[in-house]
């Protein structure tokens, strides 16, 4: 078996790190695999913490600053853990003119969180999407991977309640 010079130690014996390492290896541990590897980390762990960024930097042999730069440049990556439930409100043009701001306002008022934030008890994260591409269903939102189309503010609140307290 070929061993790499300076092959990085996995941060812990969590099996998910092996999946991350496999992605890097598939791309020959080349620096251009950075975004693909970060995708795998987020898929496995839900978010990118400092540990993960350091590991990715060492496995691809790129400066930590570059890893941090890419992780913060792209909106898809998040450095904070998400809540147990996530509600994504689409703010695409079609949803915007059909009342997405009202949905956001209702959720913000009820749970006192803004887009990108999580409730203090870690139950709900409120997120926005540029466009879900479900413009025929405007205004649209996604509650825990269930798409809610043509939804009114009071209905989305009811749906979130049901999601959090089934």
């Amino acid at each position: 078996m070929q061993t790499y010079v300076g092959a990085p130690q996995l941060p812990s014996d969590d099996k998910r790190w092996k999946i991350v390492e496999a992605t890097a290896r598939r791309h020959g541990r080349e620096p251009h695999a950075l975004i693909e590897t970060l995708h795998t980390v987020q898929e496995c762990f839900g978010y990118l913490d400092e540990n993960a960024l350091r590991f990715v930097a060492s496995v691809l042999r790129v400066p930590l600053s570059r890893v941090y730069g890419a992780a913060t440049f792209y909106h898809f990556f998040t450095l904070k853990p998400k809540g147990r439930h996530a509600c994504v409100v689409c703010t695409g043009t079609a949803c915007y003119i059909k009342g997405a701001p009202l949905l956001l306002k209702a959720i913000e008022q009820r749970y006192s969180i803004k887009p990108g934030e999580t409730t203090p008890d870690g139950e709900l994260s409120l997120l926005t999407a540029r466009c879900l591409g479900s413009c025929g269903l405007a205004p649209a939102a996604v509650m825990d991977s269930a798409v809610l189309g043509k939804i009114a503010p009071q209905d989305i609140l009811a749906r979130i309640e049901r999601g959090i307290h089934p």
Binding site: H75, L102, G136, G149
Partner: protein, 583 residues
């Protein structure tokens, strides 16, 4: 794989499908899927099994049928022996509970719309302008074939163009055919595709790349996603033909991570094509080899710009660089790189198959072929449409779209997303082609088309797009980074009713500056929504600054109610802090 082998696969597949008397197609593209189309398909399958019709009824998941607002959609096709006169019935808003009724309607055969409606179904006539006014090239298989089966694509003449091109044509002949078809880039700018190809082909380098730009970032646009979800092989075939023409061996599809279904279908399609020897090493026994890899985007709008996209594939932050050198000469890893949009590649196979003259006969003098649009907003029929170039906006919005609902008055249509403009009623009869749209201040764009009625405030719409550009600016060049901030600030002030006419003058001046001094297309086109609304809806700006209030009643300056004020202010994530302060 030779032409004969392809024909054999196609015939086997057609024969296998013909065995079934009834074809029940369920749209499982993202729009209908979010309405529960997968459950509908499962229910239909279960019903077919239970009623013992497994040998007569074929239930298959297909791509987008277009009328997304009426989803989930199901079509029922009963094959008549002659196969010329097939009877297609479409159902809208289908639920899993409708499955027994749909299967029962197959038995009775000639059930009329009335009978079906009485049975609780929603028959959807297909002989209406929404379907009849369209002309489908890119979407010809969409809603007809199973996107996860290569055999179904081959049964619809798939990969014939690729095999013909590499076995019977020289690369130069392929380029000439694309050139004389008059195809122009469908990403929005409209650069002649054949010309781009020949630039890449002429470079003497050994290593070249072909990239498919599927980073569809415009809010309100979902054309590329629909094509990738509904007919992924068409894009692969187009890319392979392009690679043969320009002399590339490696291709990348840069697709948004937000499109999981499109990614899944693409991955399946690549695997299938490789297994059949239609991608990979020495395709069709020739010396031509071509591999395709997928690269996931990570939610940066600027990566739709080609040099930023290349940076992103290289694993860097997606920031653009000055051109020239253009990617055609120095692109990915400094090698000559051909970048085309999804829809451009989707047009290639039909052009090679039917010839350049056939394609050039569709459309206008300078804009050939068709264009796919995502029609949405305040319009009766929202969904995905494909129309010949040169059709008027009025035909699209009123005939195909069915007009503005709820008795409201049409105000504007927005094309081209954050880089485009708002087109007022006076230009509704303007034809849809690259030049005409540019003349009235908008752009063709990638194909988003959002209709707005009297309830939308044009200043607020301009602010919405400016907020988008502001937060999506990559920050590399100052005019875009700082300019969009300032423009957004002025628009905030106007919608809050705190601006003076001097602010509007400053707005205009700043628009010019940002447009002429920004590094890439994002900044250069960011002022477009403001410039067009200023041009056509000046009175709305004036009303905001002279104290007359917002004519649409959505902004916070006077005329609108306090409730409206809160709504609009909370509209976009980036404006949260200011909303908090003013509330």
């Amino acid at each position: 794989m030779t032409i004969e082998e392809l024909r054999k696969i196609a015939e086997t597949e057609r024969a296998a499908q013909k065995k079934f008397q009834h074809h029940v197609c369920v749209c499982i593209a993202a729009g209908c899927l979010s309405g529960g189309a997968d459950h509908v398909r499962d229910a239909l399958n279960k019903e077919v099994a239970e009623s013992g019709m497994r040998n007569e009824v074929l239930v298959k998941g297909v791509g987008c049928m277009g009328l997304c607002s009426a989803g989930p959609l199901v079509t029922v096709e009963t094959a008549v022996e002659t196969a010329v006169n097939t009877d297609v019935q479409m159902f809208a808003s289908v639920t899993p509970e409708d499955a027994p009724e749909i299967i029962r309607s197959l038995d009775t055969g000639g059930a009329t719309g009335g009978d079906l409606a009485a049975a609780g179904l929603h028959p959807c006539p297909t002989n209406v302008p929404f379907f009849e006014r369209q002309k489908k090239i890119v979407l010809e298989n969409s809603g007809k074939i199973d996107p996860e089966r290569i055999e179904d694509y081959i049964a619809h003449d798939g990969y014939v163009a690729l095999v013909t091109a590499i076995t019977e044509m020289t690369p130069l002949e392929v380029i000439d055919r694309v050139k004389s078809s008059g195809l122009r880039g469908r990403g929005g700018a409209g650069y002649p595709t054949g010309l781009k190809w020949s630039t890449v082909a002429k470079t003497g380098e050994q290593q070249k790349y072909v990239i498919c730009n599927a980073d569809e970032g415009d809010p309100g646009a979902f054309m590329d996603r629909a094509v990738l979800e509904s007919d992924p092989h068409r894009v692969l075939e187009g890319m392979a033909i392009a690679a043969y023409a320009v002399g590339a061996q490696q291709g990348f599809i840069y697709v948004r991570a937000e499109y999981p279904l499109a990614v899944k279908h693409l991955k399946t399609a690549i695997k299938q094509a490789e297994r059949m020897g239609l991608l990979g090493n020495s395709i069709s026994g020739t010396r031509f080899s071509f591999h395709i890899d997928i690269r996931l985007g990570a939610g940066a709008f600027v990566c739709g710009e080609e040099t930023a996209l290349i940076a992103s594939i290289e694993g860097k932050r997606g920031t653009p660089r000055p051109r020239p050198p253009f990617p055609a000469e120095s692109g990915l890893w400094e090698c000559p790189t051909l970048i085309n949009n999804v829809e451009t590649f989707a047009n290639i196979a039909p052009i090679v198959r039917h010839g350049a003259e056939w394609f050039a006969a569709i459309g206008t003098e300078k804009s050939k072929g068709t264009k796919v649009f995502a029609l949405a907003g305040r319009v009766q029929n929202t969904g995905l449409i494909e129309v010949p170039m040169g059709i008027t906006l009025r035909e699209i919005i009123y005939d195909i779209g069915g007009g503005v609902p709820d008795g409201k008055q049409y105000k504007a249509v927005q094309t081209g997303g954050p880089s485009g403009g708002c087109i007022p009623a006076e230009h509704l009869d303007s034809p849809v082609d690259y030049e005409s749209l540019a003349r009235i201040g908008s752009i063709m764009g990638s194909g988003g088309m959002i209709v707005m009625d009297e309830t939308s405030c044009m200043v607020d719409v301009a602010k919405y797009f400016m907020e988008f550009c502001m937060s999506e600016s990559c920050g590399k060049c100052i005019p875009c980074r700082a300019g969009t901030q300032q423009l957004h600030g002025i628009l905030e002030k106007i919608t809050a009713g705190e601006a003076t006419p001097a602010d509007v003058a400053l707005l205009e001046e700043l628009c010019e500056l940002v447009r002429h001094t920004s590094l890439c297309g994002l900044g250069q086109s960011a002022p477009n929504p403001v410039v067009t609304t200023l041009k056509y809806f000046r009175e709305e700006y004036d009303a905001h600054v002279t104290g007359d209030g917002c004519p649409a009643g959505t902004c916070s300056c006077g005329a609108g109610t306090r409730a409206c004020r809160a709504e609009t202010r909370l509209g976009a994530p980036g404006s949260q802090t200011s909303a908090e302060v003013t509330l």
